[in-house]
Point group: C2
Chain length 500, copies 2
């Protein structure tokens, strides 16, 4: 099966691209027993069992954020089954963190191997005692999808720690550059850092963008600019925030305005870089290719390329946060591939997590710390998640799921354009966006309340869909999401919008 699929994938790679696109992948290839449609069996969702289970959890852990209580053992592929037996098409995928599907047989098969079980139950302190197979696991897995120009990898456990690992590497490299080649830390550096004082704890900063989201730990939260409720009451570093373009849609009707908006943001970005040199120099710039939690905000490839070049011009490292955009959902493996960066212009760091299940940073050898134990911790990632990532990467390649997702996204966008222009949706949907970014599509409703109503009604009609920003709905289906799921999604949306 493996050999056949590999051969097929190899054969496809030799075909011209338009032929590739015509081959239709069906999720049934990977998940033969995936349901064909939703099935809602309780009047409300969650149903009585879900409500009771949430209440039980609430005795020891806050349950106010619960949406439903799933039965993961029964869920299959793109369909999430809840504790009451409701079968929902899941286009939110655990906040965009499921790549292939629930209970995919070939992943469960991996889970049953001795290699996986021993990796799971003998978790090493990877930085000091790496498993004998570590190089093999990484070279045949995570490194095969390394972004162009980045051949170094540090694994971590989640997206927040991936971003903070990149921050730390950037600060170290920035200070090393300031000190000059080969120069050692000064006595003053070593003493002052123990008191959290400058110069050892330097007054440097990470620049991020309005509506950006980079995590919830203290460094990543200082860079996060999504919502006040994420940040309020938590001490933060005095780091700068640059504006991110507020594009108008449809894009083709606002070309000049959007260009002017991007120009304004670029100028302001550069001004902040320059101004901060006197106060807290910017050691690193971090940005998502699509600002996801903040409301699916897009900008042009030219805008991102300019940011990258301006950051370099002013001596700041450039970190692309692909925690949510990475691993194929935008129709390329990494979303920043669409920026058209030339050789030598690649980002300094690309961070990942979520759909990869493994997390970490790709970077260049020049940003390795100058001494060991500087960007180090006990686990430094989890080999078992690296094995899972390797298997998923193999499946993605064998089944050409990135091209599939690009094609599915195009089909879905076309159907949504038709639906949103129909009487059922008339005036209810604003700012449809993401065309050309695979299934990473989104739109606004008129108000936050309308958005919440839409999401709740979709769930009741059998589709688990997610929000972001103030009044946005974001699609985050898996990579096996295809034509049949598009049909279910669009039908359900039509029905729900008609009733709103």
């Amino acid at each position: 099966m493996f050999v056949r699929a590999s051969t097929r994938a190899a054969a496809r790679l030799q075909q011209p691209r338009h032929v590739l696109a015509r081959r239709t992948f069906s999720s049934l290839e990977l998940i033969p027993d995936e349901p064909s449609r939703p099935n809602v069996v309780t009047g409300a969702i969650p149903g009585p069992k879900g409500v009771a289970l949430s209440k039980e959890i609430d005795t020891f852990q806050d349950s106010r954020t619960h949406v439903i209580v799933p039965d993961y053992e029964q869920s299959k592929g793109n369909y999430l089954v809840d504790a009451d037996g409701n079968v929902l098409l899941d286009v939110f995928a655990q906040i965009s963190s499921i790549a292939i599907g629930y209970n995919v047989p070939s992943l469960l098969e991996l889970g049953r191997t001795d290699e996986f079980i021993k990796a799971a139950l003998n978790r090493p302190a990877l930085g000091s005692f790496p498993p004998a197979q570590w190089a093999e696991w990484i070279k045949t897995g995570l490194l095969t999808v390394a972004p162009k120009g980045l051949d170094q990898l540090v694994t971590t456990l989640c997206g927040s720690s991936a971003n903070e690992t990149a921050f730390k590497a950037a600060f170290m490299a920035y200070r090393a550059k300031e000190r000059g080649a080969g120069a050692d830390f000064s006595k003053e550096d070593m003493e002052s850092c123990m008191l959290n004082q400058s110069p050892g704890s330097p007054q440097l900063s990470v620049l991020s963008f309005k509506s950006g989201f980079h995590g919830r730990l203290f460094g990543s939260l200082s860079a996060t600019r999504s919502k006040a409720i994420h940040k309020v009451d938590i001490p933060a570093f005095d780091w700068p925030c640059a504006p991110f373009p507020e594009l108008k849609y449809p894009l083709e009707e606002h070309v000049a305005e959007n260009e002017a908006e991007e120009k304004r943001c670029l100028e302001e970005f550069e001004r902040i870089l320059i101004d901060n040199k006197r106060t807290r120099p910017v050691a690193a710039v971090i940005i998502e290719p699509i600002l996801s939690e903040g409301g699916d905000k897009h900008a042009s490839p030219a805008f991102f390329r300019s940011l990258r070049l301006k950051a370099r011009e002013h001596g700041a490292f450039f970190i692309v946060d692909e925690v949510q955009t990475g691993v194929g959902a935008t129709g390329t493996f990494w979303a920043h591939e669409k920026w058209g960066l030339k050789e030598g212009e690649e980002p300094d760091f690309v961070t990942f997590s979520k759909k990869m299940q493994a997390a970490g940073i790709y970077h260049k050898k020049e940003t390795r710390p100058n001494a060991p134990y500087r960007n180090y911790n006990t686990w430094m990632g989890d080999p078992m998640r690296a094995l899972q990532a390797r298997k998923m990467i193999q499946l993605i390649k064998e089944h050409d799921l990135v091209s599939h997702t690009a094609a599915t996204g195009a089909l879905l966008a076309s159907k949504l354009n038709t639906l949103f222009a129909s009487p059922a949706a008339s005036g209810k949907i604003l700012n449809f966006r993401g065309e050309g970014s695979g299934t990473f599509l989104s739109w606004d409703l008129e108000t936050p309340a309308k958005r919440d109503e839409f999401v709740a009604k979709m769930r009741k009609a059998g589709v688990q869909i997610g929000g972001c920003g103030e009044r946005t709905v974001r699609l985050r289906p898996m990579l096996t999401f295809g034509e049949s799921h598009v049909g279910v999604l669009c039908e359900t949306m039509e029905k729900v919008l008609g009733g709103m």
Copy 2:
């Protein structure tokens, strides 16, 4: 098997304590094929295969921190096997993060269950879509070992994020208290926090102690005060650091001096709490029961109890970081159980990770945030690690491994006292400490170089042992470490010390 063991454990619980202590647990009960002693087969460790594998890893990831490259598939119980086939008694246990042993059959059995495999490969966004079995898994697992007085649990992925989750909860609760019951955030709070400015991003602090270690992310690293190389070049919060007693050993010969030292530290601690009220009020105090990375520094139960009470008196939450000390190795399940805190004096937060494999915080219901999504993230822990923790907790209880470790620690301390007084060790070992703290024993050598030489020679003689602080050797064996391992360790130490 399960039933028999449970029955036996139940029977033991009805016996008086001195009878319990007399029953000898052998690691062979849990790991029948554990080697009986080390076997070193290469001239140097790592051997040629290990060196080659490190070099291969170094093409993509820093290998300067590698100690050996283990073959985890061949390792068993307390014995770590490396890629060259060297069999080492492991008393470092992946920086204190293996509780029971390598490839313990009953843990591998758990790994082969459908429940575990599906939990591993269908990782949920736990805060919003918790598994239907979550309450059951936690109530029969992690909650059964909750520290006294703390019945709430938030899971995370590692120790650093556990500590930062506690910091965030403490800051939120502190500000809620300042605002008064039921008061909402002000408009100014909500706006200023988006700019990382006060009052929304408050000028509050976490107080930690000299030589304390609490992690490597930006908040936890600001509280960490172990070594400059961990902190230099990384921006830090201007948070205060209090002195930690530098006790003199042997304790019985320095009673008055040590009491004076603890008194001095307590007074300075209180002075900092008071002084900071005018600048950056201390919202939380964090401390390890034994300052581990910083060099295995101990203080008296009375000292810790005074800290706890003084913190409360001055309005600061009290966080006990049991990431390294938790889960039995000190002879009680939690090290802070030895402090004799009375009802109502319990810590506000206890954090854990490492040997638990699952990570997180135990806390009280009063420190739940006032609104949802405030201390939230995508994964919020990993159910598969909670299942692993549950199984390990069951094994620890069934085999009474905490009492076993207390007894083993007493035996080992007695043997080490004899060894250290012998001609072989004469003058080479200083400050032997940790008696009464299970197997959490440590000592200094004369210089950092001597310590490193000792550790390297021990490895060559078949024992993987770890350092900490400047010149300390720390023992961190697993909970199945027993009389036979004590014999191997002491013999090897005698030989190595004799040759130094």
